[in-house]
């Protein structure tokens, strides 16, 4: 057999060629010009049932080009054909040999080791040098690799799903955590509030305990003081009476020096003396003295020393020349008679003041005792409010006349129910504080309003120095004072507050540069504590 192919060029023996072809290219076919198979490679014999020399190529195979064998060979290229049962596929090249024959050098197209079953072959049927074994191995490894990649991808997907799930769980956990943190924070805030409340309660209890301790001490102190003060007060009272008796005797003694007519006149004059002289301001006193003096000049021109008699008449409690006085002014011994009468009136008034003051001091001590016990004790009476203030002013007249004015704007008919002594103490404390703070130089106004027919509203104001704002809330605390040591106990306004509270009332203070005002509200109907 001579191969007619310029690329190969060699011519070698047909008989020797067949075994070589079977070893190197076990898939080969030689066909003649009539398409009859004249030689068959061993792998075709093993894998194609019924194929034999003399068979036609088209009986077993089909060219993929859909052309017949002769037409296909003209193409001179890589060709593909399949077995008629379509299980096997081959690729091949075709060489033209002598006598219009062709040699088809083919190879099975194998995709995996499992393909080998279709070809009824094993890798051992291929030449040892053939790369088919490595190809099958690589194909298998590649398939396995793809499976691994699929598994890996699936694992990644699962991991991803787990991550998404974990993220969601984390978000949920975070939300739960946030909720718990909020709840816990709220609990803590509530606990803090409760703690603060407890602390405040404890603070108040502590304050109350300190207060109670102070009050207990104060009670002991007051008990001691009461005893110590009541004793001299009793002595003063007794002495006062003795003094009155003595003075009376002295006056009578002086009167005895007079002749009978003068004696009678003096006794008559003493009988009309007004011992309850009203409190007068310096100005009022000055004006009254001037009026009396003028009247004396007109009505008794024969009386010299009008200033002397004016003062005596005023001291006797007259605010004008009473017609009854004129007859006494005509007496020759009038100077002595008027001196005795005015002296007696002044003395009587002073003794009366001492008596009232000691009586009030006694009541103050009693009030202090009541204060330390904390109840509204004593008799509830209905009394005239304006008179109550006038009495207080009278007691403080020594301080007031040094440069202060007091205006009581209360109608004469206003009545108030309460413990008169205690309420007098309230007025005294507030007015006395105003006088002390202003060094006895201020104007004090006392105003009255009726609120809803339920409350008396008494406003005691002064134009003295303002109370500093930071001290306003403390002035009603016991033992609080801005006065120097020894000048104030710090109990005054505390006592005031307690007295007002015992009367179911309220006290409120406001202070600025223009004025300081205490408003006291006391119900019209006060119920006594049991």
């Amino acid at each position: 057999m001579n191969i007619i192919n310029n690329d190969i060029g060699d011519v070698f023996s047909f008989n020797k060629t067949i075994p070589i072809l079977n070893y190197t290219t076990p898939y080969f076919l030689i066909i003649d010009s009539s398409n009859s198979i004249i030689e068959i490679g061993k792998n075709f014999i093993n894998s194609i049932d019924g194929i034999k020399i003399g068979s036609s190529f088209e009986d077993f195979f089909i060219w993929e080009s859909q052309l017949n064998t002769k037409e296909t060979f003209k193409a001179e290229r890589l060709l593909f054909f399949t077995s008629k049962n379509k299980k096997q596929r081959y690729k091949c090249t075709v060489l033209k040999i002598e006598n219009e024959s062709f040699i088809i050098l083919a190879n099975a197209v194998i995709n995996s080791q499992y393909n080998l079953l279709d070809y009824k072959l094993s890798l051992n049927d291929f030449p040892k040098h053939d790369y088919i074994a490595e190809y099958v191995f690589l194909q298998q490894a590649s398939t396995k690799g793809l499976e691994e990649l699929k598994l890996f991808n699936q694992s990644l997907n699962n991991t991803n799903k787990e991550l998404v799930l974990s993220k969601q769980m984390l978000v949920n956990a975070n939300a739960i955590l946030e909720k718990r943190v909020n709840e816990r924070t709220n609990e803590l805030v509530q606990k803090q509030i409760a703690l603060e409340e407890s602390l405040e309660k404890l603070f108040n209890i502590q304050k109350e305990m300190i207060q109670q301790e102070k009050m207990a001490t104060l009670g002991l102190l007051i008990a001691g003081i009461s005893h110590e003060i009541n004793t001299p007060l009793g002595a003063i009272n007794a002495s006062c009476q003795t003094l009155i008796d003595t003075v009376k005797k002295d006056i009578i003694s002086e009167l005895n020096d007079l002749n009978f007519n003068d004696y009678k006149s003096a006794i008559s004059l003493l009988s009309i003396v007004n011992y309850e002289k009203k409190y007068l301001t310096t100005r009022e006193e000055r004006e009254l003295l001037s009026t009396i003096s003028q009247q004396l000049n007109i009505k008794t021109p024969y009386v010299n020393e009008t200033n002397f008699y004016s003062r005596k008449i005023l001291e006797m409690g007259f605010s004008e020349i009473d017609p009854t006085l004129i007859s006494f002014l005509e007496l020759p011994n009038r100077r002595k008679i008027f001196s005795i009468a005015s002296g007696f009136a002044r003395l009587n008034r002073v003794l009366n003041t001492i008596s009232i003051a000691t009586s009030r001091a006694t009541k103050v001590v009693k009030t202090l005792n009541n204060y330390s016990h904390g109840n509204l004790n004593g008799v509830l009476t209905t009394f005239n409010l304006k008179e109550s203030f006038e009495n207080t002013i009278s007691l403080l007249s020594n301080k007031i006349k040094n440069g202060s004015n007091v205006n009581i704007n209360i109608h004469d008919t206003i009545l108030i129910t309460g413990n008169q002594d205690e309420l007098s103490q309230v007025w005294t404390n507030i007015i006395n504080n105003a006088l002390q703070a202003s060094n006895n130089k201020c104007t004090i106004k006392i105003d009255y309003f009726l609120i809803n027919n339920l409350y008396h509203s008494i406003i005691i104001s002064n134009n003295g120095p303002a109370i500093p704002k930071d001290l306003l809330s403390k002035i009603f605390e016991p033992f609080f004072t801005t006065k120097q040591l020894g000048h104030g106990s710090g109990m005054g306004l505390d006592i005031v507050k307690k007295i007002i509270e015992k009367h179911s009332g309220k006290i409120h203070v406001e202070s600025n540069e223009k004025a300081t005002a205490f408003e006291i509200q006391i119900p019209l109907k006060v119920i006594k504590d049991e």
Binding site: Q113, L116, S122, L123, N124, K128, A133, E134, V136, F137, L138, Q140, A141, T143, K144, G145, E148, L151, F152, S155
Partner: protein
């Protein structure tokens, strides 16, 4: 070694002892991936570590683990689709042992980083053969014994006797096993 070897160790442990044991071994060996890629080379140290930790976790000596693995390797590669490759090496134990180098050479074409051992046979009789084993790695002889046992099963040899008749040293350069059946 290629991932295929580590995969075989994984399959052996999972199949015989369960996935939990494998997870424990993997954790002790600091290997965090879920899979081995068959055609990817891994450091030899990882394979040694897996065997060492398998020994710890399973409570068996490394030699026993290696021998079991050698036997399993033959079964595993056949099942994994490399049966045809094994067939190429022969239809009998002596023929297979003779062609082991040829088989490794073919595999080396596909796995260029493969560092395969070398095998040659001598003194072949109808019922025995001597196998010379040369390797750059140490401590793999138990695996070779396991491989021979696996091949015995592949070729349906009921009784097989393997004797390690020569230890490798600097002069001889190889281990020799006498195989009788």
């Amino acid at each position: 070694m290629y991932g295929l070897v580590n995969k075989a160790i994984q399959d052996l442990v999972c199949e015989k002892f369960g996935k939990d044991k494998w997870a424990e071994i993997k954790k002790l060996s600091n290997f965090e991936d879920d899979f081995f890629i068959g055609l990817q080379p891994y450091p030899d140290s990882l394979t040694y570590s897996l065997v060492h930790n398998a020994s710890k976790v399973l409570g068996a000596e490394s030699n026993i683990i290696m021998e079991a693995f050698g036997e399993y390797w033959i079964l595993y590669t056949a099942n994994e689709g490399y049966g045809e490759m094994l067939n190429l090496a022969g239809n009998s134990l002596p023929e297979f042992l003779n062609n082991l180098d040829m088989l490794h050479n073919r595999v080396n074409n596909i796995m260029p980083e493969l560092v395969a051992p070398q095998f040659s046979t001598r003194n072949e009789t109808p019922n025995s053969i001597e196998l010379e084993y040369r390797s750059k790695r140490e401590g793999m002889t138990p695996m070779v014994i396991g491989l021979i046992r696996g091949l015995g099963k592949r070729f349906n040899i009921e009784k097989i006797q393997i004797t390690h008749i020569q230890e490798k040293n600097e002069t001889n350069g190889c281990h020799i096993f006498k195989i009788e059946w």
